[in-house]
Amino acid sequence: MAKRPREPRESDPQGPDLSRRSFLVSAGSAAAGSVLAGGLAGAATAAEAQESTDGRLAGLVNVRLKINGEQRTVAVEPRTTLLSTLRHRLDPALTGTKEVCDRGNCGACTVLVDGRPVYSCLQLACTLEGSEITTVEGLGSPDDMSDVQQAFCDKDASMCGFCTPGFVVATTACLAKHAAPDDATIRHELSGNLCRCGTYPHIFEAAASAASKSGGRGR
């Protein structure tokens, strides 16, 4: 069915023996030959907050978000994700929530929205008015850590630490849902997060330890 790649050779674009590549690229679409050039993307305009009568939002709009218990008013575009809002739009920025893949594959940007874990890179900030948003900063501070955060320290559950905030939030959500999760439950509830250094076994230990300590309250 499929053919093997043909033997590579310098093909003359005018010649008779166009490769599949040059054929498809040249004939497929103009965009294929200049992949850099997407449409002239809609630029951020510094227009005043706009809300038309049918509730449409456009340009730069002010939204009120409840983040870590505090009402914050922040200017975003309709396309601005919650992750970008936290890291770039808030002043001062909340940079504990990490951007790693920016497409919902890795869990480093996990925050709680109304108590549930979500990827903040796949949430539009302006759809979250009225929701309770909790970031890793909202769970505790170095001087007043939550049980989950303390357990992560005690069990050596962070190495480079870049995945850690996402895992701390996901673990907190896990313990809010399951008072005494078994190992399989912990793995299931954390399966939307990736670590590269290899801290998983210590994260599992930390989750179990925090559960036994807090009776599942996650704090």
Partner: protein
């Protein structure tokens, strides 16, 4: 000057040789640790690279004007000019770069850059394409390099005439990525006279010159800061073309520039572990001893040379030969990645030896023992074989078969080697103030290995203080210099300097004690925050009281690397894996992995365990999932995100056991970054064969390959 200090006997250590939590844990678990990605400075601009997406294309036109018209854009510059050829997929694909007031505006501008290409050249991204007759030369220097013949292939073949069994097979490994969760990049804050560079780097001291050169500054006007960093694994030594461009923009704008790769760019240009093609031929005698081995190795490092160690790998074979070379493709160069070349060599060698053992009907553990030179390996093999349950396992000399339910269970093994210890290059300052505050400083970076904690722990051990009583300052090039973190050298290079500085600080304090307590320097004991004359009853003075003797003059001493506290020699190690294979679907589940490595002094048992776990997990991920995927005809990198380039997640984790080597009495300080990452995937492949007779000769062990191997067996 007192004689060179020595490491205390392990039994007398109160902090070292125990497990203790890392000092930066609280900052990391609460989101307060500030990585380069997180740096926000007044007037900072966000820069972004513009990359083309396939190699060997000629840029025919470039129009930056649409990008310049995007509101918020501050700068748009060309990196390539019309007529330039983009030779390989990687940093050579950078066509232009932009800087803007916000990350969104920078993204918009990058997309607005108009470029046209002539791209009819064959992409040349696979070994087969590069080696095919008449293939064009990618870089103009031919598609192979570094060819080397070692040994006499004919002698190997004559030796094999006396072998009990002979096997010839090809083993293949794909390109692997580092997948640092923090992508490559820096923030450069340059004011025209000096610069502060927030670098995600594995070499704080080593980056100064490169930043200085790119900024046109003397080195003493450049400060590099890396208090934490989100993973390197070998990919973050130089500042990269992204760093050079970041400097260029900073010079032009005189504003802080934040330039980080996005994830697809990270996959396209930020380094990789070279792929490998290996043909092995060799044989063993009736006792399992290797009588001859020939290896033919193609290193696939893109435009780089790739990495591969000498063959035979670990095992001894007197009559051996090898023919090695680099085969180049139009891809970014490989970079160092945890134990460069070794996991590749391990897979070829361990699979090959395993094949020979089963072909001869011998126990593969015994065959390994026969062919290693060091008793340490024999001891390590016994340790992991015992822990994994080899003696009770039914298939020790022949593979098993699936039960009635279609599942089969098996065990496999692999060995590791690395160089022990460090090298000169680290200095440490210990400063003690009269109020009892102790600070230990070194420019060294902490990649997640725990070096920050070590900087405090060795001082605390020496002075009998709790870890919390010592402040560690690291990740700053203004501090005493450090080696870069590569090849597991950091601990071996840093720990001796820390020990020397700690020793000098203690002796300096003891000099103040001579007139007070009467004993000579060296005759004091420092325990639990107090000091006494050695051998006398009660602890006499608190540490604070001792420091008060300094008057109003803080104490500052420096220590440097001392080879007598380090050690030459080798690290060893063995790992075993137990897997189960669903012969109906090709699913491989790793149930259990065990590792033991001779680590010298366990400086921090908790961090050491994390490091060895991490090695096993990366090897498991390499074995089960990871593969860079390209379309050979179009030249596209298809696996350029974390959905299509898969790394192991929570549910892939087996039971993982680290058995620290308590019988390794060597008083040496060594890192443990490389050895544990070497043999895990080999052990898994061997376990799959042991379970069901399916021999996996290429990575990763996905169901397509497992089912094909099962079919081949039948």
């Amino acid at each position: 000057m007192s004689p060179t200090p020595k490491w205390k006997p392990r039994g007398e250590m109160t902090l070292l040789n125990t497990g203790y939590a890392r000092l930066d844990g609280p900052d990391k678990v609460t989101g307060r640790a500030v990585y380069s990605h997180d740096v926000r400075l007044p007037r900072q601009v966000y820069a972004r690279l513009v990359l083309h997406s396939y190699p060997r294309a000629e840029l025919t036109s470039l129009d930056l004007e649409p990008a310049r018209r995007i509101p918020g854009v501050v700068l748009v510059e060309a990196q390539k000019a019309a007529g330039d050829e983009l030779v390989y997929l990687g940093d050579d694909s950078i066509v232009a770069y932009v800087a803007a007031e916000t990350p969104e505006a920078a993204k918009d501008a990058a997309r607005a850059v108009r470029a046209a290409f002539r791209d009819h050249y064959p992409p040349m991204v696979t070994r087969e394409q590069s080696l095919s007759p008449g293939a064009p030369s990618i870089t103009g220097r031919g598609n192979t390099s570094g060819a080397r013949d070692r040994g006499d292939e004919a002698a190997v073949d004559s030796a094999l005439e006396g072998a009990a069994v002979v096997v010839e097979q090809v083993y293949e490994l794909p390109i692997q990525h580092h997948v640092c969760l923090e992508t490559h990049g820096h923030v450069v804050d340059y004011d025209g006279e000096s610069a502060t560079c927030y670098a995600s780097t594995q070499a704080v001291s080593g980056s100064v010159d490169e930043f200085a050169r790119n900024l046109g500054l003397p080195a003493d006007k450049v400060r590099v800061l890396t208090p934490v960093m989100g993973g390197g694994f070998g990919a973050k030594f130089g500042i990269g073309l992204e760093g050079a461009i970041c400097c260029l923009i900073a010079k032009k704008l005189l504003r802080p520039v934040h330039l980080m790769l996005d994830r697809p760019q990270e996959f396209q240009m930020a380094g990789n572990r070279s792929g490998t093609w290996v043909r092995m031929r060799g044989g063993i005698d009736a006792q399992g001893r290797l009588v001859g081995q020939f290896a033919e190795v193609d290193r696939l490092g893109g435009t780089g040379g790739g990495a591969f160690p000498l063959m035979p790998y670990i095992y001894a074979c007197e009559t051996n030969a090898a023919r090695t070379r680099s085969v180049h493709t139009a891809l970014d160069s490989n970079r160092a990645m945890r134990a460069p070349g070794h996991p590749q060599a391990s897979f070829a060698q361990e699979s090959f030896l395993d094949e020979l053992a089963y072909a001869a009907g011998l126990d593969p553990v015994e065959v390994r023992k026969v062919n290693v030179e060091s008793d340490v390996y024999r001891r390590h093999l016994d340790v992991v074989a015992d822990a994994i349950g080899w003696d009770a396992h039914p298939n020790r000399t022949a593979p098993g078969e699936a039960g009635a339910d279609g599942w089969a269970e098996g065990i496999g093994f692999g060995l590791a080697t690395w160089r022990a210890g460090g090298r000169p290059g680290c200095e440490v300052e210990v400063r003690i103030t009269p109020d009892g505050a102790v600070t230990s400083s070194c420019a060294v970076q902490d990649l997640g290995t725990g070096s920050r904690t070590l900087v405090a722990a060795i001082i605390a051990e020496e002075l009998g203080l709790p870890l919390s009583a010592v402040t560690a300052r690291i990740g700053d090039s203004d501090l005493p210099p450090s080696v870069g973190s590569g090849g597991s050298v950091t601990t071996g290079a840093l720990a001796p300097a820390l020990k020397v500085a700690a020793h000098r600080a203690r002796e300096a304090l003891e000099q103040r004690l001579v007139p007070v307590l009467g004993a000579e320097v060296g005759d004091y004991e420092w325990v639990r925050g107090r000091v006494r004359v050695a051998g006398e009853g009660d602890m006499t003075m608190s540490f604070g009281e001792v420091c008060a003797l300094l008057g109003n003059q803080p104490l500052s001493v420096r220590g440097e690397y001392d080879g007598s506290l380090d050690a030459d020699g080798s690290l060893h190690g063995a790992q075993a894996a137990r897997v189960r294979v669903d012969t109906l679907t090709g699913r491989v589940e790793v149930l259990d992995m065990v590792a033991t490595h001779d680590q010298g002094i366990p400086l921090n048992r908790l961090a050491l365990t994390s490091q060895i776990n991490g090695g096993m997990i990366q090897a498991l991920s390499y074995g089960l999932l990871e593969e860079r995927v390209l379309d050979a005809e179009m030249g596209w990198l298809l696996s350029d995100n974390l959905e299509s380039y898969k790394i192991a997640g929570p549910k892939e984790m087996p039971r993982l056991r680290v058995i620290l080597d308590e019988d390794d009495g060597r008083n040496l300080a060594t890192g443990m970054a490389e050895a544990p990452v070497i043999p895990g995937h080999s052990a898994i492949a061997n376990a799959i064969f042991n379970a069901c007779g399916a021999r996996l000769r290429s990575l990763p062990f996905t169901p397509d390959r497992v089912l094909a191997a099962l079919a081949e067996r039948a």
